[in-house]
């Protein structure tokens, strides 16, 4: 099977052609211009993942929310489950850049970390 996809590893957005066998295993990747593209194509066909960025409520800070991101990309299908957990959380100020605010969110093995100071 041949799958066409656009790489989203960086803003260049390479058009890639991925060749898969019956077991959904990647046989070849073409059209990518870097190694990240090949990895993205393999991940996207076997286990699509995304970085999740959002905000967490802060109590007693200079601003009402602090921006956060996942420490690593999480499975695409778990984004909304993670959002629910994150939206139920309130953290106390001060929050520092890089603070781990939630550990192992939704058993993904990925942490939610602060991306600014509040």
């Amino acid at each position: 099977m041949i799958k066409e996809m656009i790489c989203v590893s960086c803003p260049i957005g390479c058009m890639m052609t991925v060749e898969l066998n019956d077991k959904n295993e990647v046989l070849s990747v073409k059209g990518n211009t870097c190694k990240r593209g090949e990895q993205y194509a393999i991940d996207e066909c076997t286990n699509p993942v995304r970085m999740l960025t959002t905000t967490i409520k802060v109590s007693g800070g200079t601003l009402p929310v602090v921006p956060v991101k996942t420490s690593k990309p999480i499975p695409k299908g778990k984004m909304f489950d993670c959002m629910q957990v994150i939206n139920n959380e309130v953290v106390d100020a001060p929050v520092k850049m890089g603070d781990v605010l939630i550990c192992n969110v939704c058993d993904t093995g990925v942490d939610i970390i602060a991306t600014n100071e509040v």
């Binding site: 989203v8 260049i12 957005g13 905000t55 601003l63 929310v65 956060v68 991101k69 939206n87 991306t115």
Partner: protein
């Protein structure tokens, strides 16, 4: 009297990178004037990742990208005044600025770097009938409400314009529980980055309606819905294609305008296509000693390119300051860079023949093209010729012209164009 070697107007990514580079190149007394309460500019509300892949080789969020420069600035004695608004640039490079603490200041300086960024085209710039109901705002305004102020401006959303901020907000609002009905784009292609269409619309199952626009808004106090219609190739609504879409919020992502009021007041020549100053390879404007970089010069897709451009301006300003304004002989020996045949604009528009480095020319194309050659010529001579698989107006391109080639150009004009 306040006296500086360099005044940088704007403390976003452009201003910070320019100031740091000028310091690295040996400029002593530098001050950054920032209108907002903090440094960082628009990056502070761009909480999504994708910044820094080129410059840092890492995928950072907007605030993280800004933080690195803010921390670098803190290590220097570069002065920063926040909550400070520049109101005029007088002859002789005197800046008029004001804030609550200092009142009105006149700042004398050897060089100025303009780094004021851009702003979004507002509703008033569109001919869209309807009352001034609440719920109609730019995508960037909604971004600030959600990411900084921490509340949602609506539940059922229509987005007009597929610029990057609109796409990013489509995903953001969906993640926060809103229903984004659709993104309407007037043009037959999106103005946003491909990755944003994939990650923000396709991932979230949000339809992108091309050649489609909002022709009317409904609701008096609060927006109740919009009428959309398809448009023909001349962007006129096609009768009979009207459709009512219920929504409480309309986000506009219909373009960015470089914020060049000060530039115009200073009498600097503006490029009618970029809406930014006409500059040379060091980003010096038509007024000696005044440089421009970042989104005030040309609207960029990537902050990484803003940083790169601002470092060029910072280096240029340093050369100007350290040589006391004699760094360049501009005796009509400039090489003019022309955009032609599918290339909408180029930056820089001028190159000094006596320049001391390779020059990267940035450009945007006018339409979506496949398998075209990017060609740079000077008379009959071909300086650059490379095939590109895909070119789109939403993605800035660049070509590098070698220093050796510039020195021996046969005429004073080079042309960047597309060929089959």
């Amino acid at each position: 009297m306040l006296k500086y070697d360099l005044v940088v107007i704007g403390g976003g990514p452009a201003g910070m990178a320019a100031a740091l580079k000028a310091r690295e190149c040996g400029v002593q007394k530098i001050i950054i004037l920032e209108r907002a309460a903090t440094l960082g500019g628009i990056l502070e509300q761009c909480i999504h990742t994708g910044f820094g892949l080129h410059y840092f080789g890492e995928e950072l969020s907007g605030p993280e990208y800004a933080y690195r420069f803010i921390k670098e600035l803190e290590k220097t004695d570069i002065e920063v005044k926040v909550d400070t608004m520049v109101t005029d640039i007088l002859p002789g490079n005197v800046i008029v600025a004001t804030n609550n603490k200092d009142g009105v200041m006149q700042i004398h300086t050897t060089a100025i770097i303009l780094a004021m960024g851009c702003r979004e085209r507002p509703r008033g710039a569109l001919d869209m009938p309807g009352s001034r109901a609440s719920g109609i705002m730019t995508a960037g305004t909604a971004q600030k409400y959600v990411n900084i102020d921490g509340y949602m401006p609506g539940k059922k959303i229509v987005i007009l314009g597929s610029g990057d901020i609109g796409l990013i907000m489509a995903r953001r609002m969906t993640l926060e529980g809103a229903k984004v009905e659709m993104v309407c784009e007037l043009m037959p292609y999106s103005g946003g980055l491909t990755r944003n269409i994939v990650q923000c619309l396709d991932d979230m199952g949000i339809p992108l309606k091309l050649s489609c626009t909002v022709i009317k808004t409904h609701g008096i106090e609060r927006l109740e819905g919009v009428t959309i219609a398809n448009v023909d190739e001349r962007r006129r609504p096609i009768p009979g294609t009207e459709q009512y879409v219920e929504c409480d919020t309309l986000l506009l992502s219909v373009g960015l305008i470089p914020e060049n009021e000060l530039t115009r007041m200073a009498g600097i020549i503006i490029d009618p296509v970029t809406n930014g100053a006409i500059v040379d390879e060091y980003r010096q404007t038509s007024r000696p000693g005044i440089f421009a970089c970042g989104n005030v010069l040309q609207v960029h897709d990537l902050v990484d390119y803003v940083t790169e451009e601002s470092q060029i301006a910072g280096e240029g300003a340093a050369k100007y300051i350290l040589s006391k304004g004699k760094s360049k002989s501009r005796n009509g020996k400039d090489i003019h860079v022309k955009a032609e045949n599918g290339v909408r604009y180029v930056v820089p528009q001028n190159i000094n023949r006596s320049t001391d480095k390779d020059v990267k020319i940035y450009f945007r194309v006018a339409d979506v093209y496949k398998d075209k050659r990017v060609v740079v010529t000077c008379g009959d001579e071909v300086l650059y010729n490379k095939k590109k698989k895909k070119l789109a107006p939403g993605e800035m391109e660049n070509v590098t012209i070698k220093l050796d080639d510039i020195a021996k150009l046969s005429s004073n004009e080079i042309t960047v164009k597309l060929e089959a």
